[in-house]
């Protein structure tokens, strides 16, 4: 069988006739959100195979006590890669894929707000994944666990390049995720169909919208931590090395300030899928839409507030523990509201046990257990016993697999007809479901007991203590079931893509806008849209006798539709603020006590003040330039723009000179904590100034070309915003680094 022609044949309906000639190129160069969504999901699927094989080998190694299938180091890199891959290269890409495909359709948009940025985001995933796996060829993969606790992940204890590849790869993926987050926010804000007010957003879209805020707030924290780790490893910095004055616990704070929201970044899309699938197959609207929607907001905010519960055993002190027990257990309330509402949705409905519904109901119940064991981790005294044992492993797999993987499978069975135009097999789907459910529960239920029996996580083998052997055996047998289910699922995917029953526009009789177009949708999604007056436009359309109550338009923000460039830049600035926030907090923490040795005394405050004034002045010049542009005075605009670039250039040269003087005196990154924090903070600011200068020069260059003579320069406003932001950051940095030592 010739693969090329078959694939071309099946995907032919996704391509225009011209594209059919070059279908590979048209997929590689695509900016269509639907294809990008598919690319995300396919990438995730490929890495799922890797991480799945790793999981299986881990379970085979643990099948019997004192097993020697894998050596300790092999086992250690395997669980590191399994965790990292599953979270960053499977869960996030697949969910982003579903979001990318469905969100614009559900809000009646033609595409995402920034299609090219979207393409960048998707291609960063394989790039980051390849970087991570390149470590195999460059001296060995990382062996530090997915949260790479310092000081184990520092050069003295992990001297191979694995951790560096791990950090760079996560940085790449983090940047990609932030770009996707920005795109989701701006898409919801600016690309909604007429009538689709914010309060009429279907729950899936609403949750993705909220989730995107979490993405742009949380990922930059990780990025800041990663650059600090890389500076430690590559430039001899001292952030996290206790023996160089740094703090090992600082890394945990930064990692979990990202890591806890990260759990919700992958859980909220799963909630979103459940909130979509359960009503459709109960033939009822969701119970308490407002409460489910509002509880999402509460979860997003609380999730940013509770990271220290990952650190109850690190010894933060009784006060910190108590406050974070209080904040953490509170999350159970909005999460419980969700679970109750999903359950209540089914009450009084006419349930259809299709495969997507089966997966979602199982996800609900399994997450119920995962959530309850989560409460037991939030209660510090129980966490003191169960943390880092197999009980914890069981808990988070109940969330990551029991909820998220099941929701993803449900979501794919649900939307596959829309994406491909073909149904997946109900028969194979039910086999997959039962194999998966039995396998999952066999694998992970018993691990709760194992953990209480004292088995610590991340051990490559274990002694033959009473009960440990058979419990691990049961767990491994479960893993084999899950493997079978996964193979069956992939087979069903391929089979259905090639020979599935045609689906029609709306095979499930669902009510949101993605079902109002053909399957798969045409290039720009809709030929026409039904009127949107409630959260279920297709229900209203099909049941004119009993439409949903109209959701009124209330308040200006309900129909708020900002310009997409400004909105994009502001969201980007918010995420950048998070990044600098971490660096500034780290600077303050490490320099709170005056350091001995070269410190702020080495800095030339006067010279830097002069250069800083230049930078602050450039905020004024770029503002003048914008005013001139608004008045169509292109000459003046260019003059002010040139002045801005010159002033920014002077600042950068000044900073370069300062660095040079410091280097001459032997003050380099690795000298002491002050130097490490100083160069990191000012260096990243300098980098942002350079990026701003490049952007300004591009704007200027465009201004000089003929094409834009008579038109507006839409890029100037956003670039100006960015430039102001860079100046504000410098105002903070300058006050903290240069002025603060003078007054204290």
């Amino acid at each position: 069988m010739n693969g090329d022609t078959t694939v071309t044949g099946t995907v032919s309906h996704l391509l225009t006739p011209e594209e059919r000639q070059h279908w590979k190129l048209s997929w590689l160069s695509t900016v269509d959100h639907k294809r990008i969504g598919v690319l995300y999901m396919v990438t995730g699927l490929v890495f799922f195979v890797f991480a799945g094989i790793e999981a299986l080998l881990i379970r085979l190694q643990l099948m019997v006590p004192n097993n020697t299938l894998l050596g300790p180091d092999t086992y250690n890199w395997m669980f590191t890669m399994h965790g990292t891959t599953m979270i960053f290269l499977v869960a996030m890409p697949v969910l982003f894929g579903i979001m990318n495909y469905i969100l614009p359709l559900q809000i009646g948009a033609r595409d995402m707000a920034f299609p090219r940025l979207n393409a960048l985001g998707v291609w960063l995933v394989p790039f980051g994944g390849i970087l991570l796996h390149f470590s195999f060829l460059a001296g060995g993969p990382p062996m530090v666990g997915w949260f790479a606790y310092t000081p184990l992940s520092e050069t003295p204890y992990s001297s191979q390049l694995g951790v560096d590849y791990w950090a760079v790869s996560l940085l790449v993926l983090g940047i990609g995720s932030v770009s996707a987050g920005i795109n989701f926010i701006v898409t919801v804000l600016t690309q909604r169909a007429p009538g689709m007010t914010l309060r009429r957003l279907p729950l899936f879209s609403w949750m993705i919208f909220m989730n995107a805020f979490l993405v742009i707030l949380a990922l930059p924290i990780l990025n800041a931590g990663l650059v600090m780790l890389l500076i430690d490893r590559l430039l001899g910095g001292r952030f996290f090395l206790p023996f160089g004055g740094g703090s090992a616990i600082m890394w945990q704070h930064i990692f979990w300030a990202f890591g806890h929201p990260e759990v919700y970044i992958v859980a909220i899309p799963a909630f979103a899928i459940l909130s979509e699938v359960i009503p459709v197959f109960s033939r009822k609207p969701i119970f308490g839409h407002e409460f489910v929607a509002a509880s999402t907001v509460v979860i997003v905010i609380l999730s940013l507030l509770v990271w220290a519960h990952h650190m109850f055993t690190v010894g933060l002190g009784r006060a910190v523990d108590l406050f974070f027990v209080a904040a953490s257990v509170l999350i159970a309330v909005p999460t419980g509201v969700k679970l109750f509402n999903w359950s209540a949705t089914m009450v009084g409905g006419r349930v259809r046990f299709t495969t997507p519904m089966l997966f979602c109901v199982a996800a609900l119940l399994q997450f119920l257990l995962g959530g309850l064991t989560g409460v037991s981790h939030a209660l510090a005294p129980l966490d003191w016993q169960t943390k880092n044992s197999y009980y914890l492993v069981a808990h988070f797999h109940n969330v990551f697999v029991g909820l998220i993987v099941f929701a993803i499978l449900g979501g794919i069975y649900y939307w596959f007809p829309k994406m491909s135009g073909r149904m997946m097999s109900e028969r194979i789907g039910k086999w997959t479901f039962w194999l998966m459910t039995i396998g999952f529960n066999l694998t992970f239920m018993i691990q709760h007991v194992l953990g209480l029996a004292g088995m610590p996580r991340r051990t490559y083998t274990y002694p033959d203590l009473p009960g440990w052997g058979w419990m691990n055996m049961v767990s491994t047998i479960g893993a084999l079931f899950m493997t079978a289910a996964s193979i069956l699922f992939v087979w069903d995917l391929v089979r259905s893509l090639l020979r599935g029953k045609p689906a029609g526009d709306n095979p499930w009789n669902a009510w949101t806008l993605e079902w109002a177009t053909t399957s798969p949708p045409p290039h720009e999604n809709f030929d026409a849209l039904p009127p949107i007056r409630s959260r279920r436009p297709l229900w209203d359309y099909e049941n004119p006798d009993r439409p949903d109550p109209v959701v009124p338009v209330g308040g200006a923000l309900d129909t708020f539709r900002p310009g997409k460039n400004a909105a994009g830049m502001i969201t980007f600035i918010i995420s950048e603020a998070g990044f600098f926030g971490v660096l500034i907090l780290a600077y303050l923490f490490y320099n709170a006590t005056t350091q001995s040795g070269a410190g702020a005394r080495e800095l030339d405050v006067l010279k830097t003040t002069i250069f800083s004034i230049c930078l602050f002045a450039s905020s004024f010049t770029i503002w003048r330039s914008e005013v001139a542009e608004r008045r169509n005075n292109h000459g003046k605009m260019k003059v002010w723009l040139v002045a801005t670039i010159l002033l920014g250039g002077i600042f950068i040269v000044g900073q370069g000179l300062e660095y040079w003087t410091l280097f001459q005196r032997g003050v380099t990154v690795g000298l002491d904590l002050f130097a490490t924090t100083f160069f990191t903070l000012t260096g990243f600011h300098g980098l942002h100034v350079c990026v701003g200068l490049i952007a300004l020069m591009i704007v200027l260059g465009v201004g000089f070309t003929r094409t834009f003579k008579k038109r507006h320069l839409p890029a100037l406003g956003p670039v100006g915003l960015y430039w102001h932001f860079v100046d504000v950051v410098w105002l903070l940095v300058f006050s903290i680094v240069y002025l603060w030592p003078l007054i204290r």
Partner: protein
Amino acid sequence: MTTQQFLTSAWTWNFAALVSSGVALVAYVWAFGVNRRIVYLLAGLTVFVFTLCSPLNALAAGYLFSAHMLQHIVLLLIVPALLLMSLPRWVSFGRRSLAISNPFIGWISGVGAMWLWHARPLCNAAVSSQFVNAAQICSLVLLGTVFWRQILAPREDERMSPPGAVLYLFSACVACSILGILITFSPVSVCPIYAQPLADRLGVLSLVQSNWGITPDKDQQIGGLLMWVPMCLVYLVAIIAQLARWFAHPVASVVASVHPQHVRSRSGMD
């Protein structure tokens, strides 16, 4: 001294607080009469007087940074909110006072009050000087009122719209969290006067430090955590109220397009 003795004896009759509360009550009744909303006023004034007369105030005056922080949060967030809620729904702040109707000013007032009063010299002065202390209390209530006015103005049309209010409150929560985090984990004393109390006026220093086990570094940690977690929970409660307001929005503004139509066609899009 035992804890019980302390809790019964450390009440002070803060004359200014009692008088100003009395004046506020009389003024309220004179202006608005006795109505249902006076409950909020009474609650607000009770909390206000309690904060300034109870043992909490005694602890805040030189013993415990955390007690001072609790006082701070109550005066900035709880009292002004209750006062604003007590106003009848027709009271308008008007559009004349441009400065306080600007959300940005409101935000800076609420957050700035927190940051400003924890600058080391001001924080110390607020303990050592009666005058600065009084200025601090007045400014907290005033700035808190300016902050909450955006959310709790009596007239619906003078409030921020709910999604904006959520952002307003959330960003304030973040800004206060950052300060809370700094105070919690700072290896140096934020307000040194609490670390080395000048005089043990009430003779309860040993009670606080040995019996309660609150050493100066723990004290500062608790203070930071109060600002970080419970203060954010106050904002969160307000956010939940805003969400309730948004989703329950009963505005009966009729939607224009009720007849089925094809809103957009593919060819019509550029």
